[in-house]
Amino acid sequence: MTVKVQLFITCLGENFFSPVLKDLVGLLERLGVQCEMPEGQTCCGQPFYNSGFQAQATGPARQWLKVFGPTDGYIVAPSGSCAEFVRHRYPEMFPPGTPEHAVAREISERTFEFTEFLTRVLKLTDVGACFPHKVTYHASCHLLRGMGLRDEPKQLLAAVKGLELVPLSEEETCCGFGGIFSVVYPEVSAAMLADKVRNIQASGAEYVVVGEPGCLMNIAGGLQKIGSAVAAVHMIEVLAARGDR
């Protein structure tokens, strides 16, 4: 039976990383997965919720449930942060007894972050990728601590042909993004990013692999600012590659 995936493209993914989303479709189809993209999806509401506007967050959350509720198959996001929010927060945001609660409970069972979907649902580590470069990996907080994905992303990378994974000092330390935090306290965010960029530079890698659109925006920007030779790429871009970059 064909595995069906509903693409949860996320607002950051959509507005800043269209090539990553195209790679996501390409990779999933290559693996024999049937993709659908539910129309009407916007943002999951996390930026509002985590900024203290929890009542406001129910607006986008309701829209999300309206769009994804009636779908079937797995829901897969290129982000651990958004997937975690939907999975863990929606059932609390809408109290038991409300129609949204039942939908939230149902979708929380079938919503996955991308590397989690590959390793735990499809049970794949080798996706037939080829990326002949020296890379290092930044462990995004919500992927790592939110979703508990410590080893899986690295197992996927280890199976990529030609890829040499080099360690990143302070790999599990936050890059300084933190959503609203980055603009409420830009100076502290800058100091955290500077540490991250310094460690990436020192790793000797050509690419830093990041699995989270928010961190990718931040880290890619930090590297761009200093004119670094290291490029930041999304995990999906590496796993979709066939030796073509």
Partner: protein, 518 residues
Amino acid sequence: MSEIPSPIDFRANSRGVPPHIATSVKKATHHLLGTRATVVGYLGDEQWQLLRQAGHELRLHTINHLDAYLAQLEERVTAAGGHVHWARDGAEANRIVLEIAREHGVRRAVKVKSMATEEIGLNHALIDAGIETLETDLGEFIVQLAGAAPSHIIAPAVHMSKEGIAELFRTKLGVDAPAEPKRLTAIARARLRDAFVAADMGISGANFLIAETGTLVLVTNEGNGRMCTTLPPLHVAVVGIDKVVPDLASLHVLLKLLPRSATGQKLTCYTSFITGPSAQCGDGGPQEFHLVLLDNGRTRVLRDPQARETLLCIRCGACLNSCPVYNHVGGHAYGNPYSGPIGAILAPQLLGVQIAGNLPFASSLCGACAEICPVKIPIPEILIHLRRRAMEGDRIEGPVASPVVAAGAAAGAFALSQPLLYEAGSQALRVVQAPLRRGTWLQSLPPPADRWTTVRPMPAFDASFRQWWRTRTVEGRKQTRARRIRIAALLGGAAVTAVAALVTLRSRKGSNSHDIQP
């Protein structure tokens, strides 16, 4: 404590932190994290997780039955010959201590390091009343000498380098002090010996209070705790009501968690158990023991089921060490004695969000604190809960968000609830960014987006995926045409609204009072 405190401005405080402080802090916290990892490693992760869970459960049980355990504690302390006092707030606690001091004609007091007495400003109250008060923990001694506040729960002088401390000793003590930790310690030690002998009163906090036996437990490394609580004829302890543990068996679990998490020790050099005035045993020591039990906002925390677990804290400081924000700004940026992640959830509850409402935002919600916490306090969850208190308000307090910020959030949430509006916005951003676009980047943006671009450029808006997706099917291509017409109409309307909004906003500029959010 009569003056009305002003709101803590974390951004201003963190901007003023000199780079050498971050260096000192990071060096110390890395050392502490390293030793912690080693001793936790001896136990193995599985054992450690079981221990954390046990610690969590017994602390939660205790605070959920705090009334009963406090009553038992009072009874046992009294039975052991001690005196128990209840203080509703810091002012009352200070008054009680001063009264005891006055009754005994106290002129000189020595102190064991204590967060509760920092919280209530006891030193100021004593010194104002003419009582010479000396901190005897080495870190606290240094910080007191510098006229500063402690910047870490367990390492008060963590923000200072050994060179800075040597310089301080030279100017304040008039001694020849080299920048060598051993020599500096010897200088402090010589001063403190005399003070211990001369003191009329010893003041301590407590790491734990055992309800079953009425025993106060002090966990220390320098021996000053034992000196302060055995040499002077009077011992007064000021302790938060959250420090109670039911019995010795529970203490056993917490004593495994605390030193490992705090200093990376299996056990600290001294663990003192004090039950009543020790002179009763006939071997010297204080003739009187007073225990001041401090509320100061703790029962208010207890009333909030979503934040109650804040009171599980055993003050190990591990969350500070693991926090990337704390490591860059140090403790003083938090503007109160409780810093780091635990400070960011405790201070807004003790002081109110009116005063400390921007501390819950001083976190990237990375979760390192929750991962390291020995009693599993869900710190990120409580941070988000308190952000809500600050922005939307709840039954406890708030909101303190400016109307402009609240209106902005409402407008944003509305736009993101309407698919067509959202899509129109995404497409509009692709167009309007053109003049600012340099290749695939936006190097600088106007306020408030400049808060992002002053730090790093922003990737250019590029919402092209949906169109690409839709053109993969015939039906999708048809829908796309219809959608384009609707979006064009919407964008026309939006442009008019945006101009109107911009004009309104310009006229309101400068009237914003709270800078919690951009």
